[in-house]
Homo-oligomer: 281 residues x 2
């Protein structure tokens, strides 16, 4: 497995691989890989001749007071994990390489980025779309793989790829959970044992709402209240948002219809966790 | 010569041409082609196996009250001209094709777009960078050709291509002028005979400043005053801006040093013309 840190080397690899007529899958990550990431890589490996995993903790998508500095990093552990599932290249560029002196450009998606995580994290998705655009240009993949855990990110990136006519397929891979239901996240390492236990309330709230939908409830206000009240029973949890939106355009729903995204963000101390479920009505 | 109007057809052509290992040159235009555009095409033809000319009057780069509706269009004349210099494909997409329902993305370059034409045309360069990003993704050229006439546009697009790691070379082609010095522009057709004559003041002001620089003048204030006073002698002309900036970062200069861009925009009635010269000090 190759480890490339310079953009020039990565571009040279991309060009050579393209010239050989081989297909490329890209899994963009911020590293500190977990089973969710590995599932993305296995999915990419099954479909593409070559798989590139990018590891870049992107300062542009962190706001003031967010956890850019503390975000967990462990490149040698990440290398071993990626190698174990047959990844061909880890691309780990430097911040200076990605954002050289004079850098002045940005890609943004409007509307889709206003609510949910975008409301609490102004500028976050602008950072995400800009860095993903750059990575997609550098690696020129046939397919790019993203986890459904970041549901809004997936919707925003799909919109960007469509709008900017980027010639690739965005593949969304289902959330991977611990046995007890907690969605995998690199940020789970921040949790104290008590918060780790309390964090189960996210999935509990989502599955309770899902059960209510399956029992016939269609009123988003009722379903949101159900989730909020359930989370309120957990004193360590502080709700950031609990939302029920259209799964494509992310607009809030009053009555559930079609593919509906139940999404929430909850804080445990300084740690903010997100989770979601899609229900088809 | 092919005329393609659907993005899907253009992408299919791009992919087939790439598979054959042929190089592609793209000349993005808004049509109503003149000798300046033809020079871009000839330059592209000399360097690339295949040349694509896009013709798209991009609504996103026109402001309220600007001339989007009136902008001159003549596709059959453009086809004949492009064919005469050996262009392989005209890509003339529809507005609906380029901006489908739900379109929500934008590419922008900050800083470089604040002054000069950006000051008078808020949102203009955001429209330019967005549409050029789309065209570059659709046609995937090795080289893209732009005229020095739109000096700020060239600087902004170079910045975008660099920042977003777009894998192509931006080629700038010198301004083509009428025998009497007027820079070619599709908007010259708006000019009355009197305004057409008066418009010579743009190049006269630029060459007067250039002569002063060659005679040793380095003070930007003096040089700007020289140009402004010269233009003021032409009663039909109304200055929009007269600027002396660094040719790379477009920052205003006090003392001329290195590659300096003398740039101006002048109105004749409703018609706004731009012109520029680069002087090396």
């Amino acid at each position: 497995m190759l480890l490339l840190t310079s953009i020039e080397d990565m571009v040279a690899w991309t060009r050579a691989t393209r010239r050989e007529g081989l297909s490329i899958g890209l899994v963009p990550t911020m590293g500190y890989l977990h089973e969710g990431h590995l599932t993305l890589m296995r999915t990419a490996k099954a479909a593409c001749d070559r798989v590139v995993v990018s590891i870049f903790v992107n300062p542009m998508q962190f706001g003031v007071g967010e956890d850019f500095e503390e975000y967990p990093r462990d490149l040698s552990r990440d290398q071993a994990l990626a190698a174990s599932v047959g990844v061909d290249v880890i691309f780990a560029p430097t911040v200076r390489g990605m954002y050289p002196n004079g850098f002045a450009s940005a890609v943004e998606v409007q509307g889709l980025t206003d609510g949910l995580c975008g409301a609490a994290r102004p500028g976050h998705f602008r950072g995400v779309t800009t860095v993903v655009c750059k990575l997609l240009n550098i690696v020129a993949p046939d397919n790019a793989y993203f986890g459904q855990k970041d549901a809004q990110q997936v919707a925003v990136i799909r919109r960007m790829v469509l709008d900017l006519n980027m010639l690739l397929t965005v593949v969304t891979v289902p959330i991977v959970r611990e046995a007890d239901g907690l969605a995998l996240s690199s940020r789970n390492v921040y949790l104290s044992p008590e918060d780790r236990q309390a964090a189960l309330v996210l999935f509990r709230a989502l599955t309770a709402a899902q059960a209510a939908v399956e029992a016939g409830e269609r009123d988003a206000t009722v379903l949101r209240r159900l989730m909020i009240e359930l989370i309120a029973q957990e004193p360590r949890a502080e709700v950031d948002y609990v939302a029920i939106v259209d799964n494509l355009n992310l607009q809030p729903l009053e009555k559930l219809e079609g593919a509906c995204l139940l999404a929430l963000a909850v804080r445990f101390g300084k740690t903010r966790l997100i989770d979601n479920l899609v229900v088809e009505v």
